[in-house]
Assembly symmetry: C2
């Protein structure tokens, strides 16, 4: 099961694309029962083939260690029994979600006599480009399958053997449910040219979802000839308004930074109204320092709390993904909103306030994919929002925005039911 | 008011873009009352400046005649008193539509205690590229304004003076309503490089909507670095099923072809089940020929009706936009659906049938932006669907599909209302 030698990457990818497009028709027509049977069969196949998958994963891990990959990357690469359980459980959860495809909404009568509504339909073929985590192979394929889409998956080269082993289980599950095994294809080459091909064949791929580092995503966005669902950065803010409840402010500001450091919905900058700063910042600073969070403040922050070092201009535009927090004291709501517009990444921003009009203005005027009042930014997540699962987060405004679940993997078409009506 | 000499088109377009982006913030915040006041003030300004606009239009018409533009193009270019009335009335109708911006839907509680919903928000800056019809200037600007978007408009060079005159009225209306006049900018150069700039500045323009010939739209889609809302072709089908009601079939097949020839939702190919063809086609052929529609048929059609000439392979892929119809007799629903998948343009397709399961399969399996049962394809239209107005039709699946009204000119963001919740 080692990498096949492929001489013509372009032709190989075109062939995968053509097969994905063909199988997408069968998948769009597939019944809910059939798709759920496939998801369950894939979960079963992975369960039965734990040993094969683990062996393949060991090969990747050994190669990775030999190549000197760092510990964090090796950790993401490893398929522990617990992670295999999660993959299997995730597929069963996707099977349990309602099927969005075919649902018709708002079937209203028009004055002409026709009845007009919208039916939810699959997008077609989804291309997923991701880095080292092999569990994405099953998660992404499962979500796309439920939404009626064919999938082309291109994982990181360091997870090559793991991904191929998972692909085998997926194909068994698809076949068992009488769906075309081409409905999920894992690219069987680590050649980087495969990515270039995949993002430039609009005839075969309808949308690309890249998951990974900012560099990868920027390159894909720049070069893709199809739509890309993505977010680049998560520079999230919490603004503690002058009219904040101090207990809520303390809990939210602490949770948003320290619950997890490496996630995109973690707060990177805390904004505090000058009127409340003396009453909340010293207490917060103590709590942050207890958790070994490094504080970088504006000049007024550094005057107020001795724990803070001076922030540089670059700090306000940095996603730390680490126990570092930048803090700025602002004269009020307007400057806070303006700071977020200038330095934010349109991901998730939260205001802590008891003032009705300030809450309302923040919700309306902050132009981010998630805007919150009195809640931790860490809630910006498909599961927490009730989407059932998420394939990624979009900070763009086109098509899908915020956490993207099954609905973001679909489109709609208009349906018109008539009784012989003609236009006059 | 003749064309200003612009030496650096790129810099000029960047400047327009920057001003559009800046004004889009004010527009996104603008209240419904303020946007409606602007729309009404623009309508009033156009009404008061009919003479100026008509004079500018005369200049365009004279230049057009001197250049030898054809009669159809000169007709589209002309702003008759009736067309000015329609522009004014259209703006007043847009003012009367509900404001989509700021509407919050599905604000549901989650197990964590947070309440999650979605708020509708403007897209930002919309670029419209169109050909000769100067009335598009007011229609498109009005719809974008109501949806809270700033607009960059690039009309056809032959309508230059008319568009500039309409732009003056628009600016007066915006100023009267205390909105930035940069919220609607009409590109003041006929240099073609302006289009190239406009579609490649994602930092200033969020989406491009091209309206015009297929060649223009193909070029824009190929070269754009931002999303494009578009349709290329309208190769629409009516399929008369074996179980069709003959009266409905006759009325719909006649209306879909002959009510107007030049519109994108006009039927171009009629598919007829072989079981019903002898009972419906001869009668339809007579009616078509009475209206001087040229018939091009498959071999079996030509055997059945003497009025038909043999169709070539190219006919099935052609949008005639003329009194020409291709007709194919098919053995049943499967071949009809397959024909539409191969030759259609994913615009609008209709089945005429009394068979429940055939209707249901057609609705589900035909992958077009509008699918209909027992209704004329001519209904595929924003007004007929109840969208209030339409900025165009999309045959793509990403973001907006089918007739695009105010909703298609907006996006959503997640709103989270909490009471101090943190993630555990």
């Amino acid at each position: 099961m080692s990498e096949r030698p492929i001489t013509n990457i372009e032709a190989y990818m075109q062939d995968l694309g053509r097969r994905a497009r063909e199988s997408s028709r069968a998948l769009a027509r597939a019944s809910t029962r059939q798709k759920n049977a496939a998801l369950t069969a894939i979960a079963d196949a992975i369960d039965q083939q734990r040993e094969l998958i683990t062996t393949a994963n060991q090969v990747d891990l050994e190669l990775g260690r030999a190549k000197g990959l760092d510990a964090a990357l090796l950790d993401r690469l490893e398929l522990t029994p617990g992670r295999l359980d999660s993959m299997i459980e995730g597929l069963r959860q996707i099977a349990a979600l309602p099927d969005p495809v075919g649902a018709i909404t708002d079937l209203d009568y028009r004055p002409s006599g026709i009845q007009v509504g919208r039916m939810r339909v699959p997008l077609g073929v989804v291309g997923i480009i991701y880095e080292s985590r092999p569990n994405v192979t099953a998660d992404a394929a499962g979500l796309c399958l439920k939404a009626g889409n064919a999938t082309l998956l291109r994982g990181g080269s360091e997870a090559f053997e793991s991904n191929q082993a998972i692909a085998d289980s997926i194909h068994q599950g698809l076949t068992a449910a009488d769906l075309p095994s081409d409905a999920v294809q894992v690219v069987a080459t680590t050649d980087r040219a495969a990515v270039g091909s995949m993002i430039t064949m609009p005839e075969f791929v309808d949308v690309i979802i890249p998951r990974g580092g900012k560099g990868l995503i920027e390159r894909i966005s720049r070069e893709a000839r199809v739509p890309v669902i993505k977010h680049l950065d998560g520079i999230c803010h919490v603004f503690i308004d002058a009219h904040a409840d101090l207990e809520k402010a303390f809990a939210i500001a602490l949770n948003a930074k320290t619950q997890r450091y490496g996630t995109c919905n973690t707060m990177e900058t805390l904004l505090v109204d000058e009127a409340i700063a003396p009453r909340i910042l010293p207490r917060l600073a103590t709590a942050y320092v207890e958790q070994a969070v490094e504080l970088r403040g504006c000049p007024r922050t550094c005057e107020l709390i001795t724990e803070a070092h001076p922030a540089t201009d670059a700090d306000w535009d940095t996603e730390y993904l680490a126990p570092i927090l930048s803090i700025r004291i602002v004269p009020g709501l307007d400057v806070a909103i303006d700071h977020i517009a200038r330095h934010g990444s349109a991901h998730t921003d939260s205001i802590v306030t008891e003032d009705y009009s300030h809450a309302r203005r923040f919700l309306r005027e902050v132009d981010s994919s998630s805007v919150m009042v009195n809640a931790s930014t860490r809630f910006a997540d498909g599961f927490e929002y009730g989407l059932g699962a998420e394939i990624g987060i979009s900070t763009d405004k086109f098509h899908a925005r915020g956490p993207v679940g099954l609905e973001g993997l679909t489109s709609v078409k208009f349906v018109v039911l008539g009784n012989g009506e003609i236009r006059t």
